[in-house]
């Protein structure tokens, strides 16, 4: 029997500066839990404020670490704080803050469990922040569960609403199944390499032809994450969950949770399995084509704005899968592919959160999710209409808004790769962008040109928190449109070192 008893214990090196964002966030979420227990029912707003201040406080160490600029590695390479990690930590914390702003009025008016809501949102964010630094199968798994389990509960937050129940159940069952399948893949990869650290896995696997064990392991892991990022054919939970869950939670799931899935995929594919591109490249090719096409075609037929945004976010995930399908041929291709995904994720977060913030604002008055209820929005809410137009055109990828720039990078990665398969994929993505234009423009046409339903022109009151969320996202989308170079620089900086 081999001996499994370790040699004398040596305390691992803990870089507390590098861990500061996580430590602050953990402290804040525990404080939120305790404060909520001892605060009277009518002063619960304090809890949400504490959570918001705490989120901004944990953003501070991220900024300091970025200024400092050193790469810090712990636990023999399992936990790394580099530019990639910092960019995504910042993205998750900021989008978490925006979601918190969006939730303030929604949760208060619904008489929900306010303290627990903030606590679970922060827990999920902690999982995402950990995910950005995870460079190890076990850490990725724990981070994924930490971000998913609170999200299951948040999806079912309206306890008496059957739709919310259904949203939670579907999300939960498919989420748990996908992480079980992913774990089975991880166990096979661990068996083939004898290590869980991605760097060592890459070294063990090398660029050799894949063993069946490794190929199967990678296949299961990619399928598991395909569920998380709602790629077709593993997307069917997404529209139902998005429609049934409370709106701020839907925004959170479609942006932050999806981004976390892509972060994990970037780490696994470009750090761990890069040499095995003959396994994952075809897989991502099929996933990307199906996801873009099905997402866009089904979105064409939607009459409910939330379901439209749900299918549009499925299609957007398809665009983000394109660089994965072309990034395996060389180190340069991998670099371009990573930049494309990172830039797309940053821009997508801003424009999608913005679109959901508008939907929430309008739904406060119309109490309806139908696209027809947006008829003539311009005549009584011109500001909101202009913002929504910017967001949907940005999602459609029309210049000069941020989304155009994101799409440009996707195409660039495919064209730079230059293979026949990559060019074919670029053509599919191009056709899909044109299809997408129809339904995005349909929303704009409804707002600008259609008559007001019921001729009810009372102006829409925008609560301050929701207004702040709208402001942040709008400024982000505009800034990206005007200064795209700054964002490209960010995407270049944040590339993971391939092998």
């Amino acid at each position: 029997m081999p001996s499994l008893v370790a040699a004398a214990f040596e305390a691992p090196y803990l870089d507390y500066a590098a861990l500061a964002p996580e430590i602050v966030l953990t402290g804040v979420l525990l404080a939120v839990l305790v404060v909520d227990l001892f605060v009277d029912e009518d002063r619960k707003a304090v809890v949400a404020q504490l959570a918001g201040v705490g989120l901004l406080a944990s953003l501070l160490p991220v900024v300091f670490l970025a200024v400092d600029g050193d790469d810090r590695s712990m636990f023999s390479g399992a936990y790394v704080v580099d530019d990639f990690a910092l960019v995504f930590k910042a993205l998750f914390l900021v989008s978490g803050y925006v979601v918190l702003l969006m939730s303030t009025d929604h949760i208060e008016e619904g008489d929900y469990w306010k303290g627990e809501y903030s606590f679970l949102l922060l827990s999920s964010l902690l999982g995402m922040v950990v995910m950005s630094s995870a460079r190890d199968l076990l850490t990725i798994f724990v981070a994924l569960e930490l971000l998913s389990i609170p999200a299951y509960m948040l999806a079912g937050w309206r306890k008496r609403d059957l739709r919310s129940n259904e949203a939670a159940l579907k999300y939960y069952l498919l989420g748990v199944l996908s992480s079980a399948v992913m774990l089975y893949g991880m166990s096979l990869v661990f068996g083939a390499t004898g290590t869980t650290v991605l760097e060592d896995i890459a070294r063990e696997l090398g660029g050799d032809a894949s063993e069946p064990l490794v190929a199967l392991g990678i296949f299961f892991i990619v399928v598991g994450f395909a569920f998380k990022v709602s790629a077709v054919p593993f997307h069917f939970w997404a529209p139902d969950t998005y429609e049934g869950a409370p709106l701020p939670v839907t925004a959170f799931l479609s942006v932050a949770s999806k981004a976390a899935g892509f972060v994990a995929l970037l780490e696994l594919i470009f750090m761990g399995f890069f040499g095995q591109d003959n396994v994952w490249q075809p897989l991502f090719w099929v996933l990307a084509v199906l996801t873009m096409t099905v997402g866009n075609l089904v979105a064409l037929r939607q009459t409910n704005i939330v379901r439209l945004l749900a299918y549009s976010s499925v299609a957007q995930a398809g665009y983000m899968l394109v660089p994965f399908a072309v990034g395996g041929s060389s180190d340069e291709a991998a670099g371009t592919a990573q930049t494309a995904v990172i830039v797309y994720l940053l821009i997508y977060a801003a424009m999608n959160l913005g679109a959901f913030a508008i939907v929430m604002t309008v739904a406060r008055r119309t109490r309806s999710g139908e696209i027809s209820s947006y008829g003539g929005l311009f005549t009584y809410a011109p500001g909101l209409t202009v913002l929504m137009t910017i967001f949907v055109f940005s999602l459609a990828g029309i210049p000069p808004f941020g989304g155009w720039f994101a799409k440009f990078y996707i195409f660039k990665s495919a064209v730079d790769a230059g293979t026949g398969w990559a060019l074919a994929l670029a053509v599919v993505a191009g056709v899909n962008s044109v299809i997408a234009l129809f339904y995005y423009a349909g929303v704009a046409r409804e707002m600008w040109m259609q008559p007001v339903p019921g001729d009810d022109r009372t102006p829409i009151r925008v609560p301050p928190a929701l207004g702040a969320a709208l402001g942040i996202t709008a400024v982000a989308v505009m800034a990206i449109g005007v200064y795209p170079q700054a964002f490209a620089r960010l995407g270049d900086l944040a590339q993971l070192a391939v092998r």
Partner: protein
């Protein structure tokens, strides 16, 4: 050659299981002998009450399938959560001296966070039987 060594290794593996098999057979034989002897020796007087399943002296009510109180679920859940967390405490406990102060501090942090969970359950009235 490889197949042969595998076979030998297999037989070693199976031999270990033979012990288990013999042990199991002995156990079955012993219990069977005792129960058999008992049924031969004891007097048989059939009464209806003797066929009712034993439930600590109380007459059983209803069928075998009955729904348990929803409150048991909360206790069960709480129990499972805290019990499962001990899988992280056991490895620390068996190597307590090796891990030293570092291990102690980490474990105190871990247990403190768990204790907050218990505090939450207590404040929410989960621990009180209503």
């Amino acid at each position: 050659m490889k197949a042969l060594t595998t076979l030998i290794a297999m037989s070693g593996f199976l031999r270990e299981y033979l012990t288990v098999l013999v042990f199991g057979a002995a156990a079955v034989a012993m219990v069977g002998a005792m129960l058999g002897a008992g049924s031969l020796l004891r007097p048989k007087r059939a009464q209806l009450q003797k066929y009712i399943s034993y439930e600590s002296g109380v007459d059983p009510v209803g069928t075998g399938w009955s729904q348990s109180q929803i409150r048991y679920y909360l206790f069960g859940l709480l129990f499972v959560m805290f019990e499962v967390e001990t899988v992280f405490i056991f490895p620390w406990a068996v190597r307590l001296e090796d891990l030293g102060l570092f291990g102690l501090v980490e474990m105190v942090v871990f247990i403190a966070i768990l204790a907050l969970g218990l505090l939450y359950a207590w404040r929410k009235g989960v621990l009180r039987w209503m």
